[in-house]
């Protein structure tokens, strides 16, 4: 079986700071995703990528950049952290094909002071 590794697990930033979250998968999946989860809400898609160097905007892309440097790696940048922001960022991957099952990493918990 494969695994999705997100780093760091916890991230504390300052208002206005640029913050980068990293995600690695060894499933050899084509598609990777970044979701944001706020307390009491469902997951919202920020960016996804269907192959290396591809980037597609989700519903919540404003304020974020992403980069698919290679097939196994997908990073997310918060361009300017908002004061008192708290959320969990989840990375996921899925194989291409009819069955688009998503597999998730353990998440990065962001707190902005």
């Amino acid at each position: 079986g494969g695994i999705i590794t997100q780093t760091p697990k916890f991230l504390i930033g300052q208002e206005g700071q640029k913050l980068t979250l990293k995600c690695q998968q060894n499933f050899n999946h084509d598609t990777m995703y970044w979701y944001r989860q706020d307390s009491g809400k469902g997951l919202r898609l920020i960016y996804y990528s269907i192959t290396e160097n591809d980037l597609q905007k989700g519903d919540l892309s404003e304020g974020y950049d992403a980069s698919r440097e290679k097939k196994s790696s997908f990073s997310l940048t918060v361009t300017s952290a908002q004061k008192n922001e708290m959320a969990v960022f989840l990375c996921a991957s899925s194989p291409t094909g009819v069955q688009n099952t998503l597999y998730f990493g353990a998440g990065t918990r962001l707190s902005v002071l």
Binding site: G42, V88, T101
Partner: protein, 109 residues
Amino acid sequence: GDQVEQSPSALSLHEGTGSALRCNFTTTMRAVQWFRKNSRGSLINLFYLASGTKENGRLKSAFDSKERYSTLHIRDAQLEDSGTYFCAVANNAGAKLTFGGGTRLTVRP
């Protein structure tokens, strides 16, 4: 955009009992996936359905694309079933899943 509503938002069950969680969506969807978020915050795959029903142990899920809903049935609930359950639906474009708001399940002794 696509809308996905889960009900109930919270559910409390006694050990050994059962119930059903529901996921309604506003347009025809290609597939549905159910997850449980455990106490450590990890999202665990439960089911992926493009049609019909699937069963795994004490869990059973059904997907009706035409009627625009999916259900997750839990029977003989155990303490370790506690957590937040999410449904997510895939539209015909394929790559993107839209998540519901989740159902927080608490199983009590």
